[in-house]
Symmetry: C3
Subunit: 363 residues, 3 copies
C-alpha cells in the first residue's frame, strides 16, 4: 500500500505541510530513507540522519521547520510516539495470511464461524467453538471445544486456546500463546513441609516425603476486549471460577499467569513477568520485565513496578516499587545507597572501636 502525505496526515489526525501529494511506500529511519520513504524523525537529536538518507518527506516533532530540514513535505504529530501508533497501523504490511478458510483446517461441524473469518492452514477448531466476525486465525492454531473468540480476533501462528475460554473483541495473540492450560495446583494427603515452613517462617518440622495429588481445573479463562498477549505467554485456567483478564490488558512475551489470577483493565506486563496463583492485580498497573508477584496477594490500581521487582506481599494502590523484595522506589534507592557505602561503614565502625578502646588500654 502506498499513501500520499495528505492521506497519512488525515488518517492519524496530524497536520501536513509542503507537497502533500507526495507518495510514500514505507516508513524508515532518516539515515536509511530512500526517495519514496517517509523518514520518522520525532526527536530533533536525530535530525542529522536526514543528510545521510534521501528522504523527501518526514514525520517530524512538533514545531520542526521542515523547509530548513530540506524536505519537500512533512507531517507534524503533536505527540511523536502517539502519532507513530496511527502511522504504523496504516503502514503495517501484515503477515499475508490470506482470506477464507483453508482446505486443510480441521473444523468441527458444530463450531460457529462468524462472517468474513479467515482460517489458515492446519488449524484445529473444536466442538461448539465460536469465532467472531472478521477474525483471522493464523496457521496451525488450535481453538478448543466451547471456546469463544469475539469479533476481530487476530491470532498469529500456533496459538492454542483451551476448552471453554471466553475472549472478548479485538483479541491479539502472538505466536505460541497458550490460553487455558490447566492450573498448577497440587495437594498432599497430610500437611506438607511447605505449609509448615510458611507457618513457622522457615522450619518445615518433621519432613515426611509425600506424593502430590492433582487438583483439576474446573474453571477456564475469561479475557476482556482489546487484550494482546505476547509470544509463548501462558494463562492457566482457574480452579473453580475462571482466571480473569480485564479489558485493554497487554502482556509481552513469555509471561506466566497462574490459576485464579484476576488482572484489572489496562494493565501492562512486560516480558517474562509471572503472577502466582489467586493473586489480584489492579487496573492500570505497569510491570517492567521479569517481575514476579507471589500467590494469594493483591497489587493495587496504578502500581508501577520497575524491571525484576519481586512483589512478596500486598502492594498498595498507586505505589511505585522496585527491588526484591519490592519496596517503595525511594526506599529502594536509599537502601541501595547504604549498601554501596557498607564497606566504608564497616571500616568507620572498626576505627571508632579502636579510638574508644585506646583510652582504656592507656589506663
Amino acid at each position: 500500500m502506498v499513501y500520499s502525505i495528505q492521506q497519512i496526515a488525515d488518517a492519524i489526525g496530524a497536520e501536513a505541510f509542503g507537497n502533500t501529494d507526495l507518495i510514500v511506500e514505507r516508513v524508515t529511519e532518516p539515515a536509511m530513507a530512500g526517495a519514496n520513504d517517509l523518514a520518522l524523525l520525532t526527536n530533533p537529536k536525530f535530525a542529522g540522519g536526514l543528510a545521510q538518507g534521501s528522504a523527501r518527506a518526514a514525520m517530524l516533532w512538533p514545531g520542526a521547520d521542515w523547509q530548513e530540514l530540506g524536505l519537500e513535505a512533512a507531517i507534524e504529530s503533536p505527540r511523536g510516539r502517539y502519532g507513530l501508533s496511527g502511522l504504523s497501523a496504516l503502514m503495517d504490511p501484515g503477515q499475508h495470511f490470506g482470506a477464507g478458510i483453508h482446505a486443510s483446517a480441521v473444523i468441527d461441524p458444530t463450531a460457529e464461524i462468524g462472517e468474513n473469518v479467515a482460517i489458515g492452514p492446519l488449524v484445529v477448531i473444536g466442538a461448539r467453538a465460536k469465532i467472531g466476525a472478521n477474525s483471522i486465525i493464523g496457521p496451525q492454531c488450535s481453538v478448543g471445544a466451547d471456546a469463544t473468540l469475539g469479533a476481530n480476533a487476530y491470532l498469529r501462528e500456533m496459538v492454542s486456546i483451551g476448552a471453554r475460554a471466553t475472549i472478548g473483541a479485538r483479541f491479539i495473540a502472538q505466536p505460541g500463546v497458550r490460553v487455558a492450560s490447566d492450573g498448577f495446583s497440587f495437594v498432599t494427603p497430610e500437611k506438607s513441609g511447605v505449609e509448615a515452613a510458611r507457618e513457622t517462617l522457615g522450619d518445615q518440622g518433621d519432613v515426611k516425603s509425600q506424593e502430590w495429588t492433582r487438583i483439576h481445573s474446573l474453571g477456564s479463562v475469561t479475557i476482556g476486549d482489546d487484550v494482546e498477549l505476547g509470544a509463548n505467554t501462558c494463562i492457566d485456567c482457574g480452579t473453580i471460577r475462571d482466571t480473569r483478564i480485564g479489558n485493554g490488558v497487554k502482556m509481552d512475551n513469555l509471561v506466566h499467569i497462574a490459576h485464579n489470577v484476576v488482572i484489572g483493565d489496562n494493565t501492562i506486563l512486560a516480558g517474562q513477568c509471572g503472577i502466582a496463583g489467586s493473586t489480584v492485580i489492579g487496573k492500570n498497573v505497569v510491570m517492567g520485565g521479569q517481575c514476579g508477584v507471589t500467590d494469594n496477594t493483591t497489587v493495587g490500581d496504578n502500581v508501577i513496578a520497575g524491571g525484576a521487582t519481586k512483589m512478596m506481599s500486598k502492594v498498595p494502590a498507586g505505589r511505585v516499587v522496585l527491588g526484591s523484595p519490592a519496596v517503595k522506589m525511594e526506599t529502594h534507592l536509599e537502601m541501595y545507597k547504604g549498601l554501596r557505602r557498607l564497606p566504608r561503614l564497616i571500616a568507620d565502625v572498626a576505627k571508632l572501636q579502636k579510638t574508644i578502646s585506646k583510652p582504656d588500654t592507656k589506663d
Copy 2:
C-alpha cells in the same frame, strides 16, 4: 456428567449429610452457585457467600453445621484442599479431544500405538515411537522417532517430544511442552573469558574473541511415572547420558531444565524456574516461582526455596532458603532487617564520629 451428593462423597472418601440423592452438575464458589451447583466452602470465613448464591448443597470444612448454613445436603472433607483433588477429578469437563485416531494425523507405519489410544488431528508420530495404552495425544502434537510414552499419557495440544525420549506412565503435558530439545553446550577452541573469570573470580584476563563450537546432545530425556509439565516448559537432552526427571515430579509453566540435570522424585518447580546444566536436584524439593539454580551444583532432598530464590551454590538437604544468592530463610530475614535499618545505622555512626571527634577539637 451429573452426580448425586452420595456418589461424590463415595468417590472422594468423604461423608455425606442430608438429602444425599440431590443431583449436582458443577462445582462453584458459594456466591455464584445456582440451585444445581455444589458450592465449595472449605474455609468458614467465606460462609457468608452462601447467602448471595442459591446453593442447596456444599462441600464444607470439617465440623461445619450444614443445617445451620441452610443447606439441603452437604459433604464434609477432613482436609479441604485434599478433598478438592478428588472432587475436581470427578467433575473435570475435560478438553473433548475425542476418541480414536484422527484421519489427518501423520503416523509412521513403524510406530507402535497401544490399545485404546486417542490421537488428535494433525499429530505427527515418528518412526518406532511407542504410545502406551489409553493415552490421549492432543491436536497438533509431535512425538519423535524412537520416543516412548507410558500408559495413560495425556498430552494437551502442540506438545513436542524429541527423538529417543523415554517417559513413564500417566504423563501429563500442558500445551507447548518441549521434551528433548537439544542441550545448550558450546565450547571455544582455547580457554574463554568465562573460564578465566570463573577461576579468578572476576578477571577475564586478555580477552580474545572466539567462535563457539557446538557440543551435540547424544543423550535424550528420561522421565518417570506420574510427571506433569506446565505450558511451554522445556527439558533439554543430556550430552552423553539422558537428562533425568524422577517419579511424581510436577513442573509449572515456562520452566527451563538444562542438559544433564537430574531431578529427584516428587519435586515441585513453580512457574518460570530454571535449572542450569548438570545440576542435581533432590527428592521432595519445592521451589517457588522464578527460582534459579546454577550449573554443576546440588540441591538436597526436601529443600524448600521461596519465590525468586537464586541458588548459586550447593544447598544442603532439608534447608529452607530465600534470596539472591540463596541463604537460610532466617539469615535472609535478619540480613534484610539489617538492610532496612542501614540508613539509620549510617546516621548513628556519623553521630558517633562527631561525638568522639568533638573532645579532640575542644583540645
Copy 3:
C-alpha cells in the same frame, strides 16, 4: 552409524592409540559403557568408572596412559570438551526427520525451495518465502511470507518464523522458537504515569487511567550466520528497522528478545535471559541464566554477567558483573560480605553507643 577409533580421531583431529581399527557405536560415560561403546573420560577423576563398565576404548585427557587404564584403544584430545564437540557432531543420531518434501506440507507456490531441502509433515511455507539449499524444516513448522532462510538451516518441530525475517546460513532453531513476533510497544494519548515516574524517580504524579494504543511493527528480524536459538525462545520484530542478531550468536531456552534490540557477533545468552526494547548488546558477551537488561541501554563487548544479573543501566565493555542491580563482580562480593556482617555491625554500633553514652550518664 559406527566408526573405527581411527576414523573418529581423524574426523576430530585427535591422536589414536592401540587397536585403532576397533569399531564403536555410541559414546557413553565410563561406568555405563558396553563393549562397543566409546567411553568419554576427559577428566582423570572419573577414571575409576571404567572398571564398572566394559569399555574397550575411550576418549581420554591429554597425557593419559591408556594401557594402564586397561583399554584396547584410545583417542586423546588436547582440550577435552573441544574434542567432544567434534565427536558429538560425528555420533549425533539426529531426529530422523526424513528427506524430501512431505505430502502434507502446505507450501505456497511462490515460495522458493532450495536444492536438497527436507520439509516435514504439516509444515506451512508462505508466499515468496525462500529456503536455502540443504535445509531441514522439521514437522509442523511455519515460515512466513517473504521470509528468507539461508543454506543448511535446521529447524526442529513447531518453529515459527514470521513474515519478512531474514536469516543467514546454518541457522539452528529448537522446538517452539518464535522469530518475528510483533514488538510490544504501546503508547498513551497523554503522558502516562510510567513516563512521570521515570522523570521524577518515583512520583507518578496525578495518575490518570488511560488506554494503550498499539505501535505496529514495521520492521522484522535479521539474523546472521551460525545462530542457534533454544526451545520456546522469542525474538520480536523491530518498530521501524529490523531487530538484529549478529553472526555466531547462541541463545538457550525461553529467552526473550524485544523489538529493536541489536546483539553483536558470538554473544551467548543462557536460559530465560531477557533483553528489553531497543537495547544494544555487544560482541562476545556471555550472560548466565535469568539475566535481564533494561530497555534503551548498552552492554559493551566481552561483558560477562553471572546468573540472574539484572543490568539496569549501561555496562562498559569487558566488565564482569553480578547482582541486581548489576555491579562489578568484586564490588558485588564486597557488598555481599558487608551484608552478611550487617547484623554484627548493628550490634557493634549499639555497643559503641552504650560505651560512649555511659560516661555522660556518670557525669
